[in-house]
């Protein structure tokens, strides 16, 4: 299993092929969404909703062998792609690694514009929620 930094570097490499073309970028993000492992419908509960303004994101976290496994989904294709990248980077990492993670890939691949309040797609909220899970589970595992 690659570490958080290696996965981020992979993503940066993939996006560098798109030459900053916005249509290609969005197309690729949607492809990544298609690759996101399907989330169990029973996990799509009200509690698991990370609220964004225009799109819905569901996020579930479970601790398996000291690592957090994230499952997620969204009701919009583009947000699902963005969600898929966060899951790819942070899922199956240890709680402490998640807490400490510097998610520099977002800035590097020019996805900042997808995160601000402007785009309101709940991605910023999702990143925060993943870190909170990291923190919550790290206290559990340390005890």
């Amino acid at each position: 299993m690659s570490n958080i930094q290696e996965i981020q570097d992979e993503i940066i490499e993939e996006f560098s092929m798109l030459d900053g073309d916005m249509e290609m970028t969005i197309g690729y993000i949607m492809e990544l969404g298609d690759q996101l492992p399907e989330m169990d419908e029973v996990l799509k509960t009200e509690e698991n909703i990370v609220k964004g303004c225009q799109s819905k994101v569901w996020l579930n976290a479970e601790l398996k062998e000291d690592k957090i496994v994230f499952e997620a989904d969204s009701n919009t294709a583009i947000t699902k792609g963005l969600v898929s990248m966060l899951v790819r980077v942070l899922s199956s990492q240890t709680p402490q690694e998640i807490v400490d993670a510097d998610l520099y890939f977002i800035d590097k691949i020019g996805l900042n514009r997808f995160i601000g309040t402007q785009r309101s797609n709940g991605l910023g909220a999702m990143m925060k929620q993943m870190k909170i899970y990291g923190l919550a589970f790290s206290t559990k595992t340390n005890v």
Partner: protein, 413 residues
Amino acid sequence: METLEKSGLNIAKIREEFPILDQKVNGKPLVYFDNAATNQKPRRVIEALANHYKTDNANIHRGIHTLAERSTAAFEETRHAVREFINANEAEEIIFTKGTSESINLVASSWGRKFLEEGDEILISAMEHHSNIVPWQMIAEEKSAQVKVMPIDENGDIILAEVDKLITEKTKMVAFNHASNSLGTINPVKEIVAKARKVGAKVLIDGAQATSHLEVDVQDLDADFYAFSAHKMYGPTGLGILYGKRTLLEKMPPYQGGGEMIKEVTFEGTTYNDIPYKFEAGTPDIANVVAFKKAIDFIDELGKDKIAAHENELLSYATTEIEKIDGVKVIGKANEKVSVLSFSVEGIHHFDIGMWMDAKGVAVRTGHHCTQPLMDFFCIEGTVRASFSVYNTIEEIDIFTQALKDTISKFKK
């Protein structure tokens, strides 16, 4: 090439007045169809704003020096231009605010506090913007009054027969929009005003979506209050207008305290200035008020009838074109509409459509447009909304339609 549209306007020449339109977004020529949110500013407005700061800037009304005189004169000149623009009886009935929202809040708070009593009713419509819902809910809660809602039909027209049942002796205020920001519906203001008059209720019209498209004559409409925003009519952001009948404004207490709104202040008490100053506490947005005059000139020069003719042509063409596309459903098919085209596409989230359209250089609005109760009525989360201003063209609609088709094709697997 000098071509006149059916409306008689030379759109190519008009576009030259709008520097912002001449740019590429994401590598594609910008098609700006988010005009109902805010429309773009002609060069003369931008220049007036800069010129005010370059040559005339001073605080108004109190200074005795030359710059203060010039600044005050320009500021008050806009008030007179606004009076004429909406045919108010006198300039003192024009109050400058931060925007339509503040104008409505001012009335809800000041008029509501003085005149509403327990058990009174405020009647709004099902297609109101949150800014014409929430201020009424707030004052209703404070006064133990009740907010009631005029229902609409599935085309997006107010059901007038139902209004008759809802307007009763308890109704003290009827507040609704002249035109809907989500659906484009032009509401039958005069008919509803007449119904309100029968029970002595006051009427507030939210004109934010109307003033750049429709002739507005507040005396003919017999509105007690008419609220609108400069930035939706080619003017600067952060500036709103509240028209109110003198007899009402004079009876209303001030909204905020501060400079300008007082006659005399001692620590024992304060006497208030006359209207409109009573409602304009503090230094107003002088430069924007001054520049707004140029936006009014711009509209007057083109003529509202010609603007409306051009925008209606765009709306009708765009509606026909997108209805040809499989899965597209137009939301809002009122008998009379301003140039707002809301739609949904089966199986595709409006957010995805908006993002794809943006990548193709087309700026549209997506979401609930601050009308959540209305979206609930249509059982949808939101729509994609394209809205047109006088500088938009048939060619741009073709680009928009093609972009929409391309976007939809990305989702067909």
